[in-house]
């Protein structure tokens, strides 16, 4: 049963929840990370007359103490939507975000920029980044649901990665919809994002905007068309007799199928100019920088090192040629690997890392040089050349053999004899031919060799078995065993004699039984078995003393009957009780030996 505590607000929470809240508060109180502040518009392209939502978010923060929102020159209207806070616990890690939202309406087409401004978060002053959205000229829309294709510009360069958006506007709530169909003839479709939903106000009416963001790369020059595009969806049309605002927020009304269509948009794709085109230009378009590093710069000749080239920037990384190390005598370059880490969801910006294993065998080499690579910058409309700075290295001569088995820095490179050293690090040749040997599978490689190796143990087992058999044969009677002298028949005869009180017959049978049973155990002829054998043979063989006493008692009975008087029937029955355990003990003794 969970105890509950009544709190003033009227909400009831369990003690477990209270404990979790306290832990959460404690975790939050203990946080020492500096707040990370970001600022963003919910859409990158809007039409003039629309509103756009601007959000400032502080991660790892508890409160925004003060905010100095800047004066915006081309602002037609604005509204502070207030502050919201969100706390998440993911895999035990607590994170909290606090956001301040504004609804803004630009006053003119063009770039709408919110410059960097200061705010105080948890007592610390932080600065937001400058963010920008593009305000497109107003278009006339007669429908309540429409689709449009948006690009930042109308002119691009062949090979340039074009970010584009497909925006669906709806004055009604959207019930369901299929993915949009977009014709991209002449383009290669790149990455795409999951659609995002936002709200805007156009002419005083709320609209839902679904944005599908993706990239495309033109494959030829000239005028190319993106689109047309279409999208089937179902919208909820509010009923006539209810307040529209009520329906917008709380649903209601009837679902209606609609097809939204967007006309094709023509883009002018320019060829990169021939003028000033470097000979090594391979079609890369964008803006890139590069940096090269080596895993070690001071090493022994013959050691393998890894050269890493990191190319960062924005553009078509796929068409970027792999930066190359300059080949020269004394350097061996191996085929490398590359990896790309995108810096945004569309892969427009990012970092590509190339890694190559290199072996420098000539100690005279002092630097690793790189071949420059070129790209076309679509913003400046110029070709740029990236020349990587050479890496200075110090290549040590290998130590002579006998001094060290490896180089001083612990690598796998091995020393070579001065007589054979030609930079390859090989150990010297053998002088004597030695004995000619066969490389054919030897005796020990044969699959049956394990059986041969185990043969001594097998021989030992056979020997033991043979010895046991021999002993049995030695002790066995020379003639066939008399069925009347078998244990069972003698025991039966003994029991009858005890029951009938036939003492002479009883002791005679008992004597026979003891002789027949003891003789093979002690390894003596049956007629030589007497009470003395208990001490001389059976006890040393491991017969328990208790069983020895029992046997002695039986022998005494036999002797008394033979030399003394006649026992009573009761005595015979009592003596019978000792016979079976004594015989069992003899059998066990025989097994053990």
């Amino acid at each position: 049963m969970v105890k509950t505590i009544q709190i003033p607000s009227g909400r009831r929470i369990g003690t477990g929840s209270l404990a979790r809240m306290l832990i959460l508060l404690w975790c939050l109180a203990c946080r020492t990370h500096a707040a990370n502040v970001t600022a963003a518009f919910d859409r990158l392209f809007i039409e003039l007359g629309e509103t756009v939502q601007f959000t400032v978010t502080a991660d790892n923060a508890q409160r925004i103490d003060r905010i100095q929102f800047p004066e915006l020159a081309n602002l037609a209207g604005g509204q502070d939507l207030g502050t919201s806070q969100q706390t998440e616990v993911i895999n035990g890690a607590v994170s909290s975000h606090i956001s301040r939202r504004y609804r803004l309406q630009p006053a003119a087409a063009g770039d709408f920029t919110v410059p960097s401004f200061k705010l105080v978060v948890d007592g610390q002053e932080v600065t937001t980044p400058t963010v920008r959205c593009r305000v497109l000229p107003v278009e006339q829309h007669t429908n309540t649901v429409w689709l449009k294709i948006v690009t930042e510009r109308d002119t691009y360069t062949l090979g340039e990665t074009i970010p584009l958006e497909l925006q669906l506007y709806s004055a009604y709530n959207i019930d369901s919809g299929s993915p949009p169909n977009l014709s991209l003839d002449g383009f290669i479709k790149g990455h795409d994002e999951k659609p995002s939903q936002s709200q805007t106000v156009i002419g005083g009416k709320n609209h839902i905007v679904l944005t599908f963001r993706m990239t495309a790369t033109p494959t030829k020059g000239g005028d190319l068309q993106i689109g047309p595009a279409s999208m089937d969806l179902a919208v909820v049309v509010p009923s006539q007799n209810r307040a529209r605002g009520f329906d917008f927020f709380f649903g209601g009304g009837s679902a209606q199928k609609v097809t939204a269509e967007a006309p094709a948009k023509t883009l002018h794709i320019l060829q990169p100019p021939m003028e000033g085109r470097p000979v090594d230009y391979a079609g890369a378009v964008g803006r890139f920088t590069a940096k090269a590093t080596a895993s070690r710069t001071n090493f022994t000749a013959g050691d393998a090192i890894t050269v890493k080239i990191v190319v960062s920037g924005q553009g078509a990384f796929d068409t970027l040629p792999a930066p190359k190390l300059e080949e020269m005598p004394g350097i061996t370059i191996y085929t490398g690997t590359n990896s790309f880490v995108p810096g945004d969801s569309l892969g427009m910006i990012g970092t590509k890392t190339y890694e190559q294993a290199v072996i420098v065998e000539d100690p005279a080499i002092t630097e690793l040089k790189f071949e420059p690579f070129s790209f076309f910058d679509p913003q400046t409309r110029r070709y740029e050349k990236v020349s990587l700075r050479p890496i200075k290295i110090k290549v040590n001569r290998p130590a002579v053999a006998g001094n060290a088995a490896g180089s001083t820095n612990g690598s796998n490179t091995l020393a070579s004899e001065p007589t054979t050293a030609k930079g390859d690090g090989l150990r010297p040749l053998r002088v004597d031919y030695g004995d000619t040997v066969s490389l054919a599978a030897g005796l020990s490689d044969a699959p049956w060799f394990p059986a041969l190796a185990a043969a001594p143990l097998l021989a030992y087992a056979i020997l033991m078995y043979g010895l046991t058999l021999a002993k049995r044969q030695r002790l066995a009677p020379k003639t066939a065993p008399d069925p009347l002298l078998s244990r069972d028949s003698l025991l039966s005869k003994l029991a009858k004699a005890a029951d009938s009180g036939d003492a002479p017959n009883y002791y005679n049978t008992l004597n026979q039984l003891l002789q027949v049973e003891i003789a093979p155990v002690a390894g003596v002829p049956p007629n030589s078995v007497n009470s003395a054998i208990v001490e001389s043979k059976l006890i040393p063989m491991g017969l328990p003393s208790e069983e020895g006493n029992r046997l002695r008692k039986l022998f005494e009975g036999v002797d008394e009957a033979r030399f003394g008087g006649i026992a009573k029937p009761d005595t015979l029955r009592a003596a019978m009780a000792d016979v079976e355990p004594a015989l069992n003990a003899l059998r066990q003794l025989q097994w053990r030996n």
Binding site: I359, S411, R427, A453, P456
Partner: protein
């Protein structure tokens, strides 16, 4: 008496002839071996490797021949063939430090996996026949000591410690032999000797690449079809490789 003298003369002549013939063989072999070394030192590594191959064909293999052949191939720019020759030499003398150094060097240069751990490292230093004969001998000693219980009881009681020692040694040697035998049974048995080749998903040139096979990498052949070997790498990743691109280890 006269007949006896003729017999002895014929016998002496035969022995001398055979001795001379054997001596001339050894001398010719030594001369060719030295000539190959001379070529190697002059920088004619490929010619040296070819001469070592010729000696092996006509005179047979020796540890030194295989070792030198590996050096010549390595210097001639054929690390795959070099590793093949060194691995064969390793079969004969796995504890030679120069050989192990050269193998490590080749692995380092070719960015090949270096033998590490008990199965690949320590076990490589022990020949299968050594572990086999050790297991056999230990078993023989242990069985003999055990048999004293029936044959020489007095000696049996005096050798209790020795019997225990022999028993433990037998178990250890058998474990070593079993591990080595298993490693030989499942380990690589061919070496890639071609540049820039790959293991493919099927026995066709058109089949997609399963994984690259750098020259000198070691694979295990598990089957063959139409001039292709079905192989697995050290991680048991399967694929197919053209038979011309690998050299099989000698059995």
């Amino acid at each position: 008496m006269k007949l006896s003298g003729i017999f002895w003369q014929i016998l002496l002549a035969t022995v001398l002839s055979i001795g001379g013939w054997l001596g001339s063989i050894a001398s010719a072999r030594a001369d060719a071996f030295d000539d190959a070394a001379r070529l190697y030192e002059r920088g004619q590594a490929l010619e040296a490797a070819s001469m070592y191959e010729q000696i092996a064909t006509t005179r047979g293999y020796s540890y030194a021949l295989l070792y030198n052949m590996g050096n010549a191939y390595f210097r001639a720019g054929s690390p795959g063939m070099a590793i093949w020759a060194w691995r064969e030499a390793e079969y004969l003398n796995p504890r030679h430090s120069d050989l192990q150094a050269n193998l490590a060097l080749a692995a380092n240069r070719g960015n090949l996996p270096v033998a590490k751990g008990l199965a690949d490292g320590t076990l490589r230093r022990i020949r299968l026949c050594e572990s086999a004969w050790a297991a056999f001998t230990a078993t023989l000693v242990w069985a003999t000591l055990l048999s004293f219980g029936r044959t020489l009881p007095a000696l049996y009681h005096k050798t209790t410690s020795l019997r225990w020692l022999a028993g433990i040694a037998t178990l250890c040697f058998w474990a070593l032999y079993g591990t080595k035998y298993w490693a030989n049974l499942t380990g690589p048995n061919c070496i890639v000797v071609a540049h820039d080749t790959a293991v493919r998903f099927g026995p066709l040139e058109e089949a997609p690449v399963a994984f690259p096979a750098p020259e000198g990498s070691e694979l295990r052949i598990v089957g063959s079809r139409n001039g292709w070997f079905q192989v697995t790498d050290s991680n048991a990743k399967p694929g197919w490789i053209d038979q011309k691109h690998v050299k099989r280890r000698l059995p």
